[in-house]
Amino acid sequence: MTTHATREPETLMGYDEALTHFDPVMGLEVHVELGTATKMFCGCSTTFGAAPNTQTCPVCLGLPGALPVVNEIGVESAIRIGLALNCEIATWCRFARKNYFYPDMPKNFQTSQYDEPIAYEGYLDVDLDDGTTFRVPIERAHMEEDTGKSLHVGGATGRIQGADHSLVDYNRAGIPLIEIVTKPITGAGERAPEVARAYATALRDLLKALDVSDVKMEQGSMRADVNLSLRPRAADAQDQDAVPLGTRTETKNVNSFRSVERAVRHEVMRHGAILHGGGSILQETRHWHEDTGLTTSGREKSDAEDYRYFPEPDLVPVAPTRELVEALRATLPEPPAERRKRLLADWGYSDLEMRDVQNAGVVELIEATVSAGGSPAGARKWWMGEPSRRANGQAQDVASYAAEVGLTPALVAELEGLVTGGRLNDQLARQVMDGVLDGEGTPTAVADARGLELVKDDGALEAAVDAVIAANEGVADKVRDGKLQAAGALIGLVMKQMKGQADAARAREMILAKLGQG
């Protein structure tokens, strides 16, 4: 059988079967847009969503004669990222020009770093679903600038093929990027897709904690390229590292954590089918399709692609002093994985509860609510409830939604205090939360204005209980006979009569006492 380079197999190989034949090796390249106020080499604003080409100047448009000046905050952010990824920080490094022609790149070279990255040789420990930790080796983190954005008009797909014309928005050109490149990730075996997702998630959490980027994959401020290759599985697992790496493909712009996992899985199945069928993998870039969960061929990445890198002569070398590096190290937040372990212990959540609040993006809100006097359980209940539902409904994250409607952690703690203090029960408190979210004021103000308060007067409650028992003797008899669950119906009726403003526990106590079960 002759070996032939193949792009699309007839059918994919089953994932489990692929893993019996092959060992997956991954590499992830993640681009992160820094959240600096200005671009990497000029003073233009970086605000997302401005009208096209309104945030540009001679420098980021690459006009003749214009020169770059390095954004110091960008360099400091890069160093902090490097330190948080346990990297070495270069004592002296340069920018380099990566030369290639593309219409959305104003200078037709990208100012980047080549063989002298600002940070190198690190690692990131990531938590897997079963609570174990996997160490992802980091090769480098380097600084570069983003390109402009092409908009292809008139075609069916929005891609350049078939488009009538293209428009370019240079607002994005020159926005600082950090590219974080892993070393080949080996040893993940069948968990490779999960490791890839866990790494991307852990990196997002780390960058968020560092406060260097808003890390929104859906807005493109974090973009992942997934490299994957398969190599034959060694007869003895101990010999696996000695098996040479296979040919890799690079799947570009995978834009969600779930897609990172799916893309790895898909490529394992595609490579497996090709290799097992006697074909060979063509080194190329692949496009990820969110809708179908498939990749399609991009451009061939031959060795002929030559970026003619050379040191950027318009910039002076970056030489951070050791004092600066140590000062930046002192600003590092608690690593997210350690923080997670600490909060888990402090809050007494289950693993599942912890993962839920993490996925909902409310960890910081809960932490602040606890600081403001709330209980961990109460804070979780209130943040995961109506605020999360409304935020989801508006496709917003909870924190920005809360900020928009003015729901602060202190107010959530106040609401919980009204419940623990006995003024409200959960049902009334939910009505109060609705009022707060609708902009009616603080929990206390909403409760006052809506006249929501538990009735503490036992006399009124007793009258209601007596009336309900008298009107429902049949049910009352069941309780008298020891069917205690029947009391629920009576409690419900009492609460209805009290218009909800009664303490249900006290009503139950009273009903049971009157029916001889107290």
């Binding site: 001679p58 448009l61 690459g62 006009l63 003749p64 004669g65 214009a66 020169l67 770059p68 000046v69 390095v70 020009r97 030369n99 022609f101 219409p103 104003p106 200078k107 037709n108 070279f109 293209s166 370019v168 030559d306 003619r308 890198y309 050379f310 002569p313 318009d314 910039l315 002076v316």
Partner: protein, 506 residues
């Protein structure tokens, strides 16, 4: 009267303005009149801004009338090489590819001229993107040497040298990547300085080779050159390679004009063989004059200068190939649709526009540089050239340990005839052998007239080189030599050039 006015030095013009014997408008108009009379012959300008220059002059006169505190050169007009961006004024870099482009911003050098109140007369001709030694590579035709209109005015800044040599402007801005200020000065009997790399902002100077380019002053006297140097030098936050230090006291040095007690070093590698007899004779006499004025002379050895030309022609094309990539017809400048292609791609438009927009010399250097930076060749070419660059800087360091300034002829020959070297690029390149080392090492250099060659009666130049950031030494030595030569000649050299307004001398 107007002819007399344009023949004054810039320092004298400044004095006439400050005493209100002449207005900025009169002075500017005199130069515009001169241009109208002679530029059809010389072709120094690619663009003359009559209205803009007069408007700036009027503004200066009004401010002077109002008693404002003005810069000493306020009202003294100037010409700017057409490779520096000028807001609202075309900037072509001598290339078709930028035909019609009007920059939306001023180069920092231009901003400083405007702040000093110096009316900008126009933009001067140059070899396309400053690649050349004759202006013959300008897409808009060559400039001519006022001493002999059949000869080159030097390059790439032949527009700036000829504009002052033909009295169309007292001052001009040039740029010097391998000698483009100094060689044109030498062949036109004028003065020009390439300042220390990083001492004049490159912001708005359209890059040829970023690590070599430096803008500088062109004038007819050493003092005028110093006055302009002081206007344009100084730190600029917009240029990362700009030196953040006070500007050396160049004007004071020019006024002092004193070489007594200084040691001047004659560079062995840049004299003798390969230098035209008349050039060498005038050089030797100039050195002797400096000794008469109290300087001590030594010979210095700079063995690695022999490799300067080779290193330069790897570094320059490499950087240029990248710097010129931005000219792709996507955002500004010439756009040429490819022939016989329906619905061309962006890449096809880029290729067709670059093919039509760039001249042969530019293409030659882009191809050279692209090759030199290619994977597999980088170490052998660009990498090796950078090592040579280091060795040349070391040669300078050693030489400056034994001499305060170094001397050589600026160019091996006097002005050659138009067309003479056009088909022999290597011969053209060799003309820059003496000026290139200063660019590779970043040190400052000046060229000033040393006389007329006996063979052809054409101007010869002497080059003075100083350690980085010691630009003032150029002016101390240059002014002393100029004074000694003037004493010998009896009148400035340029008084012996043909008066073009009396009709072309052919």
């Amino acid at each position: 009267m107007t002819t007399d006015l344009t023949r004054r030095s810039a320092a004298e013009m400044a004095s006439l303005l400050s005493t209100r014997e002449v207005s900025a408008v009169e002075l500017t108009q005199a130069h515009l009149d001169r241009t109208d009379a002679v530029d059809a012959l010389v072709h120094s300008y690619l663009h003359v801004d009559h209205e803009g220059a007069l408007a700036q002059a009027r503004a200066v006169d009004q401010r002077r009338a109002a008693g404002d505190d003005l810069h000493p050169l306020a009202g003294v007009p100037i010409a700017v090489k057409d490779i520096l961006t000028t807001k609202g004024l075309p900037t072509t870099c001598g290339s078709r590819i930028l035909e019609g482009w009007v920059p939306p911003y001023d180069a920092t050098v231009v901003t400083r001229l405007r702040e000093a109140g110096m009316p900008i007369l126009g933009k001067t001709n140059l070899d396309e993107f400053a690649m050349g030694s004759s202006t013959e590579h300008s897409a808009y035709g060559p400039s001519r040497n006022p001493w002999d209109l059949e000869r080159i005015p030097g390059g790439s800044g032949g527009g700036s040298s000829s504009v002052i040599a033909s009295f169309q402007a007292p001052l001009a801005i040039g740029t010097d990547t391998g000698g483009s200020i100094r060689q044109p000065a030498a062949v036109t009997g004028t003065v020009g300085t390439k300042p220390t790399y990083g001492s004049v902002s490159r912001y708005g100077l359209v890059a040829l080779a970023s690590s070599l380019d430096q803008a500088g002053p062109c004038a007819r006297t050493v003092l005028d050159t110093a006055l302009l140097h002081a206007v344009i030098a100084g730190h600029d936050q917009l240029d990362s390679t700009s030196i953040d230090a006070p500007v050396p006291a160049v004007v004071e040095a020019a006024l002092r004009a004193d070489v007594s007690g200084m040691t001047v070093g004659v560079i062995r590698q840049l004299t003798g063989e390969g230098y035209q007899a008349g050039v060498q004779t005038r050089f030797d006499e100039a050195v002797a004059l400096l000794v008469e004025r109290g300087a001590k002379v030594v010979e210095v050895d700079c063995p690695n200068f022999d490799y300067a030309l080779a290193a330069y022609y790897l570094i320059l094309p490499s950087e240029a190939s990248s710097n010129l990539a931005k000219f792709d017809a996507m955002r500004y400048g010439l756009r040429v649709p490819p022939a016989e292609v329906d619905d061309p791609s962006a890449e096809q438009v880029m290729a067709a526009s670059r093919d039509a927009g760039f001249g042969d010399e530019v293409k030659r250097r882009i191809i050279l540089g692209t090759y030199a930076l290619s994977s597999g060749y980088y170490d052998a070419y660009y990498g090796q050239a950078q090592k040579v660059r280091r060795l040349i800087a070391d040669d300078f360091s050693r030489a400056f340990a034994s001499a305060d300034v170094l001397l050589s002829p600026t160019a091996p020959t006097t002005a050659f005839r138009l067309g003479e070297k056009l088909d022999d690029p290597m011969a053209m390149y060799r003309g820059d052998v003496a000026t290139i080392p200063a660019n590779l090492a970043g040190v400052p250099g000046m060229s000033l007239p040393s006389g007329l060659s006996d063979e052809d009666g054409l101007p010869t130049g002497i080059q003075i080189l100083a350690p980085a950031t010691q630009d003032d030494r150029l002016y101390a030595v240059g002014a002393a030599l100029e004074a000694a030569l003037l004493e010998r000649w009896g009148a400035p050299l340029l008084t012996r050039a043909p008066d073009l307004s009396q009709g072309a001398v052919t």
